[in-house]
Amino acid sequence: MADSTSGSNSQVGTVRVKRGLADMLRGGVIMDVVTPAEAKIAEDAGAVAVMALERVPADIRRDGGVARMSDPAMVEGIQQAVTIPVMAKARIGHFAEAQILESLGVDYVDESEVLTPADEAHHIDKWSFTVPFVCGATNLGEALRRISEGACMIRSKGEAGTGNIVEAVRHLRSILGDIRKITQADQAELFDWAKQLQAPLGLVQEVAETGCLPVPMFCAGGIATPADASLVMQLGAEAVFVGSGIFKSEDPAPRAKAIVEATTHFRDPTMVAKVSRGLGDAMPGLEIDELETKLAERGW
């Protein structure tokens, strides 16, 4: 393992270094990859991090079966292939998978609804880990519950593997809209908000005071084009996760680079138009109403 420093006051795994890595990823694109070769393409295109997983969500949706943590050999292969941070997914509540990923030295663990949940009531106690965690959320209550369990980054869930942005927009609007309402609430109303959201009062009060989540909020689930990235960034996401949207498209490398540039210049439609030209076909999309399984409904 990496050597640490001298100084009796040196501490690893603090909230500040865990949330701090999420801060460093802001304004960037985190890309799902299933092989070292894909990880390299992602890094070449300017990804700030890669997410190692067994299958991209579109394939999980198509093939069914239980989706689990990646093979450790694959995670290690991806770590060797790139110099940017490597994240990996563990099943909801599967703390043993998370322990394995921590032992491999992954930089962030995603306790993810895209994999098949391992526990129907409990999420992982994320405070007990040195490695930081990101979790999905569809609304503010869910986000605050995950933060109370130790999550250091929240991503709006969207509906992974669909190439359809509508759910991501719904979740972002729900979380950010409720934050805006809470900042207008008086003290008595905050008790009711905490009850309605099923979230700890202390966190609700903190959100009311600061007007934002205590951890960075990124967007995931359904981003397939540079315009999608610009949309969710303008709605208030601080960075984007792209799963199937890159490697299920006709020509992954230029699309990946275009999404990176659109995420940086998201307020500049001329720039987004420029990078959107001639990218070939986006991934085939799915209508939400026709889905057999809604991944966003997993997690509690």
Partner: protein, 195 residues
């Protein structure tokens, strides 16, 4: 008139630097395109992913004009990825990764290891009486290539070796750690005093 400080805002933690500089009464401008560089008195390159920022500097055509300004003596503060981008040599970077070569150090990316080795420690900084809260996140480490580079702080490793983490050469200051993630404004103050 207060100086205008640019904060490179292509990717990473530009907001925290903006907040710190504004608290000190500075006018701050976010820099994403060449036109944002006009009339700056200094530039801050924040933490983020250096390979990504390097790619975006190229694609936005900001690398060359910023490089010329730096060569003409534009004062610069670089933290973490910013240290890498200002260094003369990047030891294990990508072959296509360019840097501005404004401070004679060689930088090793992730010199302290992966995220699980990221740490906080109190640092003794030259010219500051009280220790400074050092926040190191997948932090780079410096090797000095020219005796005119001044080491303002270093961290002692388990091997006994001292790794420089805060260096200055003329009007370029670089840190491995993240002063912008703390409430302590002394380091930004030091930078502004040198303008």
């Amino acid at each position: 008139m207060s100086p205008i400080v640019g904060v490179l805002a292509l990717q990473g933690a530009s907001r925290e630097h903006t907040d710190a500089l504004e608290k000190l009464g500075t006018t701050v401008r976010q820099v994403r395109l060449p036109k944002d560089l006009n009339g700056l008195d200094a530039i801050v390159i924040p933490g983020g992913e250096s390979t990504t920022i390097s790619m975006l500097l190229e694609s936005s055509k900001t690398f060359e004009p910023l490089s010329e300004l730096l060569a003409d003596g534009l004062p610069a503060l670089g933290t973490c990825a910013g240290m890498i981008l200002l260094a003369t040599e990047v030891l294990d970077g990508r072959s296509d990764q360019r840097s501005f070569a404004q401070i004679d150090i060689a930088v090793r990316r992730n010199a302290f290891g992966r995220q699980i080795a990221s740490f906080e420690t109190d640092l003794q900084i030259k010219d500051l009486e009280e220790p400074f809260p050092g926040v190191f996140i997948r932090a780079p480490g410096a090797q000095i290539l020219n005796p005119s580079v001044e080491i303002l702080a270093s961290v002692k490793r388990e091997t006994g070796e001292e790794t420089p983490v805060f260096c200055r050469q003329e009007n370029v200051m670089v840190t491995s750690f993240h002063p912008e993630l703390t409430d302590d404004l002394r380091l930004h103050q030091m930078f502004l005093e040198h303008l």
